[in-house]
Assembly symmetry: C2
Homo-oligomer: 327 residues x 2
């Protein structure tokens, strides 16, 4: 049996029992990032890692080396932000065919450096490895600091307001445009969607703000709104009800570029957006309303007899997922 045949979720289910969790771990695998205690009160250090592989996570025809570097930083820092943490540094691993142009590695580093600097962080270290013909991958481990307890996926409670910081569906709409093939002559507003696919701009500062404001659960939208909201629902044992009305403008903004049907799919299921989804105590409990950058898009309800899940105006949406090995 191969990895493709078993798929990512079942593979993880097979290997997790073989991997001990370190003793002083506050939070092990399974959330956006792990947490180890810093030793000071309830604060901690968060750790996460995310990899990009040429041909799977990017195509050289669409993305520059600087795009790849900046995107890999963004993906990792979004996971840090989703715990409510601030970035403390990155470790970068480049696995490259020795025939890779020097200029590509230099531009990758420039993209990483600029994205890190924009997030007020930088590079702590890394590793270089050579690999076979055509192989090129970038792995980043991001480290963050918490000022208080981490915001996990499991704290949502019925009555909470569901809110999002950042855009929805734009990276996926950009991918649609790339796949449609006529992107090289794109209009200026379409180029913004292509850019969102090449390199997302997660609302990193909104993560610690949400934690400060009392967010009870949070996740980075890497695999699509419904799928990632479903992870919060499952971890918290609740139903997350999204309001179609609250998403209508996101869909309408994308429809002229990809059509109405695809626009809805992008908003509900589009991956790689790296916006933040958070659940807050119902608004009346927050004297100052939602923290800056967040807008309400739904409610947390008690899980019904069908168990935890996600609904849009009461109906479970049909969206497809993504499996690294199964495709």
């Amino acid at each position: 049996m191969t990895l493709a045949q078993i798929g990512e979720d079942e593979l993880l289910a097979r290997i997790f029992p073989l991997l001990p969790v370190p003793a002083a771990t506050s939070l092990g695998p399974g959330d956006d990032a792990a947490v180890i205690a810093s030793g000071i009160g309830e604060t901690g250090i968060v750790l996460t890692t995310d990899t990009m592989v040429r041909g799977k996570d990017w195509l050289d025809e669409w993305s520059s080396a600087a795009d790849v570097g900046a995107k890999c930083v963004a993906q990792n820092l979004a996971d840090v932000a989703a715990m409510g943490a601030r970035p403390a540094g990155l470790l970068v691993t480049l696995i490259a065919d020795a025939a890779t142009p020097l200029q590509w590695a230099v531009e990758l580093s420039r993209g990483i450096g600029q994205a890190a600097a924009a997030a007020d962080t930088g590079v702590l270290g890394g590793d270089l490895s050579s690999a076979g013909a055509g192989v090129l991958s970038v792995s980043i481990t991001a480290v963050g600091r918490l000022d208080g307890p981490p915001v996990t996926r499991s704290g949502a409670r019925p009555g909470d307001v569901v809110a999002v910081a950042g855009t929805l569906g734009r990276a996926a709409a950009g991918l649609e445009l790339f796949l449609a093939g006529d992107w090289q002559d794109a209009r200026a507003d379409a180029v913004e969607l292509l850019s969102a696919q090449r390199c997302p701009s997660p609302p990193l500062a909104a993560g610690p703000r949400a934690a400060q404001a009392g967010a009870r659960a949070m996740i980075d939208l890497s695999d699509g709104l419904v799928r990632d909201a479903g992870r919060v629902a499952a971890a918290s044992g609740v139903r997350i009800e999204l309001l179609a009305e609250a998403l209508a403008q996101d869909i309408a903004a994308l429809a002229p570029f990809v059509g109405g049907e695809a626009a809805r799919a992008c908003v509900l299921a589009g991956g790689e957006e790296h916006s933040l989804l958070a659940c807050f105590p119902a608004e009346q409990e927050l004297p100052q309303g939602l923290p800056q950058g967040f807008r309400p898009i739904g409610r947390v309800l008690a899980a019904g007899p069908e168990g935890p899940g996600v609904t849009v105006d009461g109906v479970a949406p049909q969206v497809s997922g993504w499996d690294h090995f199964g495709g």
Copy 2:
């Protein structure tokens, strides 16, 4: 120009200026591991990352998946130990052709889990990515905790005693036996050398012990005794004088397997041993002598007119190095 043409050192020299170092970093890139302040006194968190690629860092004919997992853990934890830190957790990234057998991934995880448990640590998280046909790589980021200031490469002072914890040259001698080709019928004592190549056993506990005992500089022997001692010499601005007499037994132990000339090369230049080289204040300054597990193999001298470097009985040894891209 390609990565192969420019080589690893020059590539690093080109990209380091593009990578900002995070603000609260106690120690950035360039040592065995980076250090960020934990916020408590002089203690800190150390971070390091190391990758293994099939066909470059291992061959399936020689190494089981469990060997690869355990070796990748050992390499990373040796870097943690070389700072004087204790392991606090690992993040593991597997980049694999989707046609990789499930059993390989399961055995890899078993090897990682066992090596982590033996070092009293475990796995905090990780990432899975698919890649093209035949690609298989394992990257680990290791996190450690310091009980005091880190032991860097730059603190050696003339008069210090140079000591090593762990074996010398055994992994390289094992590689010689593999390359010689008749390893499948190896005698029991030769099998131990093959095992040292498949998976080293770094003296991890000796690292924090050395820090506790006042080690002024330390490094993990990943690229060979002379090359790694040279890094300490360069960072500290000193000459490291190794005593041939202190290495004679290490060489004699390997000579029956690989011949006297190769045995000397293995001890002086053999990589992947992951023993610890440390410099301590001259023995009279240490009431209890060297910490458990360390044996003296040389002295730190002032750098002469020829600058920092390494000598054996006063002579600069001729040893070859290793470049990931240049070969």
